[in-house]
Amino acid sequence: MFECSNCHRKWNHEIKECIYCDGNIVENKLSDFKVLYSSEVLSGSKKHNAPYFLLLADNGNEKKLIKRGSDVARGTHIIQDYHHNENIIVGVIGSGKMGIGIAALLIDNWFKTIVKTRDNNKKDTIRESLYSILSKSNDHDNTGKKIQLLKITTDFNDLAPCGLVIECVSEDKEIKRKVLEKVSQTTQCTIASNTSSIPISYLSPKGAENRTIGLHFFNPVNKMKLVEVVKTDSTPDRLIKDALYFCERLGKKPIVVHDSPGFIVNRLLMVQLKEAIKMVEEGIASKEEIDEAIKLGLNHVMGPFQIISLIGEDVVKDILETLDTQRLEE
């Protein structure tokens, strides 16, 4: 909200000079919006897929706000507009492909973001790669503003003020367990793992089961719409609703899935990839022929071997092992 300090007229649009008088323009950051009414939208549009909730909120001072949100009661406090997510701090652990992708998505949507990395020497590289990603979809001014939302640390204790921490370390059960355990000790907030296949109930730190969920983003994070929201028997409904709302605010389409190895996508994908590898081993067809056949015959955008090279052979191997171990245990 922009206001003339002299005549007190107000604008929603960014202006530099008052057209009525010579007063200075000041930008007021408004807060404390409470939901007045909401509507459950069941028939959507091309831009907004239904179902979702449309909220009308006000701050009791002439200013109203329209927002997409989750099913919240009248009077619920919601966070307000423009740089609307600056009040929430999200921690991202890991600075690999997924960690950087998720951090960029968060910052691009105005979330204050703390990236936790192991290596002090990587801090500059992380900042540079995030700056370069942001500058592709933002002008110079906004890139500059957004990169200020980023903090990089090597210390788990710096994650204490976070409202949500997303773990994105390598797809190794024991490493993930150790990291999540550490997060549960240094924070009180929701803990999410970006694991692509390991059951959340296996990863949940003791005593923090009711605040641990799975948030499985897909690579490349800025392009892939889907987030698998994984719930266990200990996950409260409230947490799932918040997670859905959070994903929507990032422009993603969340799908809730019950905890199980590989969730939805990788459980089906790995069967296909495994069979594709077998076919090459048995000399039935070449990688290229299989890719072409799947694209033309099933109308897929990519063939199985193109997917393997996109995800990374090491990650595919880790996922296959997780699924196989789970099957053996059963």
């Binding site: 604008w11 929603n12 649009h13 202006i15 057209i19 009525y20």
Partner: protein, 376 residues
């Protein structure tokens, strides 16, 4: 009828969005007019494809957000590339009922791929007869150029000179899209073909920008410029329905009416703003308005220091062509010149100025004649 104030933004690739562009132009016009917002009785917004490209229509209501407290009549006008001229024309009619009318034209065109913009622009052409068969505007004017060359034996060299002249004028206009760009005749001649025979330097650029004008029924200062006439006419939407594609009937009709009403002749005009969306259109339009015989426009000396200056701001070619703003910006240039406030690009003679703004391939046309304050 008088023009009391004018204002505009820079034209070009700008970071500002529609509301900021409109606000800046209105603010500048309001300062120039030395009028208070409360004294504006009505508003007309001119915009072509905010609805198509940004899904933002209803810009006449946006005025109330930009001018807190303004709750009077506000209309949005669309007539393709003649939207600005049509809005200005309508404002002159509203002066029968109101004392002060604000006209603001705006377009946000950049930041999307050229093919999207080309399609949106093509929406001004006949859907079934033209668009469905591959007509885009560069292509339409390429056909017009081909016939013009064929009929009058004029060569592309005439178009190169128009392009160079308009770029040189833009180098004297700090608000022009190509203010900083120095262009050589060689660069123009060797630029890539867009739609043969038209090359890149025959085409106006894709620009963002806004322009505003405040019209008043009565004169309030010596800087006010009198509106002698503003007339509008239409022709068939598709060029396939016209007898002769290089004679612009809507332009001819609007010009005839405007000269009659102003009681002056074409050779009384000191300077003109001509709708050069493509260089060929500067020639065709000068002839259809009646400044010279058909086929002879390239013989006119139209530089700023020449006998008959045309497009002193750089024209659509080099000042820029933010569609909804273009027709309004033409008026701001004429007013600036007629007041003698055009600085480096000031013309000598400033008795009468003419603005010519057309939609599509000439399906609509507005011709406005203004009278200078000083007779030279």
């Amino acid at each position: 009828m008088f023009i009391r104030g004018v204002g505009r933004t820079k034209f070009g690739v700008l970071r500002e969005q529609i509301p900021q562009l409109m606000y800046e132009a209105i603010l500048n016009a309001k300062k120039d007019a030395k009028i208070s917002v409360e004294d504006i009785d009505a508003c007309i917004v001119s915009n072509f494809f905010g609805g198509t490209i940004d899904n933002q229509s209803h810009l006449n209501s946006l005025i109330a957000s930009l001018l807190p407290g303004f709750d009077k009549q506000s209309i949005r006008v669309e007539s393709a590339c003649a939207s600005g001229g049509a809005a200005f024309n309508l404002a002159t009619k509203l002066l029968n009922n109101y004392e002060n009318v604000l006209v603001v034209g705006v377009e946000k065109m950049t930041n999307r791929d050229v093919s999207t913009v080309t399609d949106a622009l093509a929406s001004a052409a006949d859907l079934r007869l033209e668009q469905d068969n591959g007509l885009t505007y560069p292509a339409a004017y390429a056909l017009i150029a081909s016939e013009y060359f064929d009929k009058y034996g004029v060569t592309h060299e005439a178009l190169d000179r128009i392009s160079l002249k308009n770029h040189e004028n833009a180098n004297k206009n700090p608000l022009a899209h190509f203010y900083h760009k120095k262009v050589t005749l060689n660069e123009i001649k060797e630029s890539p073909v867009v739609c043969s025979p038209l090359r890149l330097f025959d085409c106006s650029p894709i620009s963002d920008g806004a322009a505003a004008v405040i019209l008043s029924a009565t004169k309030s200062s010596e800087r006010d410029v009198e509106i002698l006439s503003s007339e509008m006419a239409v022709d068939t939407l598709s060029i396939t329905q016209r007898e002769d594609i290089i004679k612009m009937k809507a332009t001819e009709k609007a010009s005839k009416m405007a000269f009659n009403k102003a009681s002056i002749k074409p050779n009384d005009i000191s300077l003109a703003e001509i709708h050069d969306c493509f260089t060929i259109n500067e020639l065709v339009s000068l002839e259809s308005i009646g400044f010279c015989k058909f086929g002879k426009a390239s013989d006119l000396n139209t530089s700023i220091t020449g006998e008959f200056p045309v497009n002193t701001d750089g024209g659509l070619k080099a000042d820029g062509h933010p569609i909804g703003a273009t027709g309004v910006a033409q008026i701001t240039e004429l007013v600036t010149q007629l007041r003698g406030e055009a600085g480096d690009r000031q013309v000598k003679k400033r008795a009468y100025g003419l603005a010519h703004n057309i939609g599509g391939s000439g399906g609509s046309a507005v011709v406005t004649i203004l009278k200078g304050n000083i007779y030279v």
